[in-house]
Symmetry: C2
Subunit: 188 residues, 2 copies
């Protein structure tokens, strides 16, 4: 389990309320670790009870009060411990891969529009990454440690999306070829 740790990293980069964290998880961090506001609120309360984070009530006008959290000493220590633990193997859930193998027992052509939609969303994400890179890292020769590490993670995201786009093109070409062949021959 590492939601606690993802939250700690986010709070170290910038303190914030549960709600703000939830939005960050929808945007930047969410590319590497997803979480709903429910999980975040629950885990934040547990972390506060354990002394990992400190909370400060902030009154706002025109808006509900919010509790701004920041990482506390024990939280940083827990994060350092976690860093030194070996990563547990990631549990993979690659739904599209399952669907592609499933298509062999149905009509491969039925998957084409699905894969195309997938391709669009990956192309959009790549564009957002590249835009974010230009915005947040205009000068790649003058980065501090934090930015260096953020950037190497971003490079990973960019390369992943490029690889995925190329593969989805490969998948589409394969599905289209099979659909052609299927029309040419008798349906099996």
């Amino acid at each position: 389990m590492a939601l606690e740790h993802a939250i700690l990293v986010s709070l170290l980069e910038q303190p914030g309320s549960g709600y703000e964290l939830a939005r960050r998880f929808d945007r930047s961090i969410g590319r590497f670790w997803t979480a709903t506001h429910q999980q975040i609120y629950r885990v934040l309360r547990r972390m506060e009870a354990d002394g990992w984070v400190a909370a400060e009530e902030v009154a706002q006008d025109g808006r509900p009060d919010k509790k701004v959290y920041s990482a506390a000493g024990p939280g940083r220590a827990a994060l350092a411990d976690w860093l030194r633990e070996p990563v547990e193997p990631e549990t993979v859930r690659h739904e599209l891969a399952v669907k592609i193998r499933a298509a062999a027992f149905d009509d491969p052509a039925a998957l084409i529009s699905e894969v195309e939609r997938h391709r669009e969303s990956h192309a959009a994400l790549l564009a957002r990454y590249l835009h974010g890179e230009q915005r947040d890292f205009p000068d790649l020769t003058a980065l501090d440690t934090r930015q260096e590490l953020q950037h190497v993670v971003l490079r990973g995201g960019i390369e992943f999306e490029r690889m995925t786009l190329a593969w989805l093109d490969d998948v589409l070409a394969t599905l289209r070829r099979l659909a052609e062949d299927g029309r040419g021959r008798a349906d099996e």
Copy 2:
């Protein structure tokens, strides 16, 4: 949720018992969808109750009896329906990316051995993929529909591992550079 569907695909490719499925999920299918034997047994019982799979008791000598499952008509229909549904966005859990960003608040050098271990396991997986490709697809010009689809998924796995290896090398170079700089300058 798609464990049902992953099981259906596996049973369509080859009928088998819960135990055999669990082992397949540890090996081939498990690259795209992980599951423990507990999940598999539970879901198989539900699928049998729903008529998605048919079970046949098989007596064995020297071993406990096993129930061999195979996909039934309603299961195939459910799979076809699922193929036509849009994929829900995958929930991403990229622990290493979180750790890399976390390293900014600790010692980046502490991550190096961790990333190296990661790199080794991805290199080993790539080797296994390439070996499996040679074994299962010796003649790429004579593939039927099922093999074509299996192969395009395998190509995705291979490209993913290649991309990951290149990125991990990038990460290692970055961490080592930061560790050098950290020794040169004062610790912050």
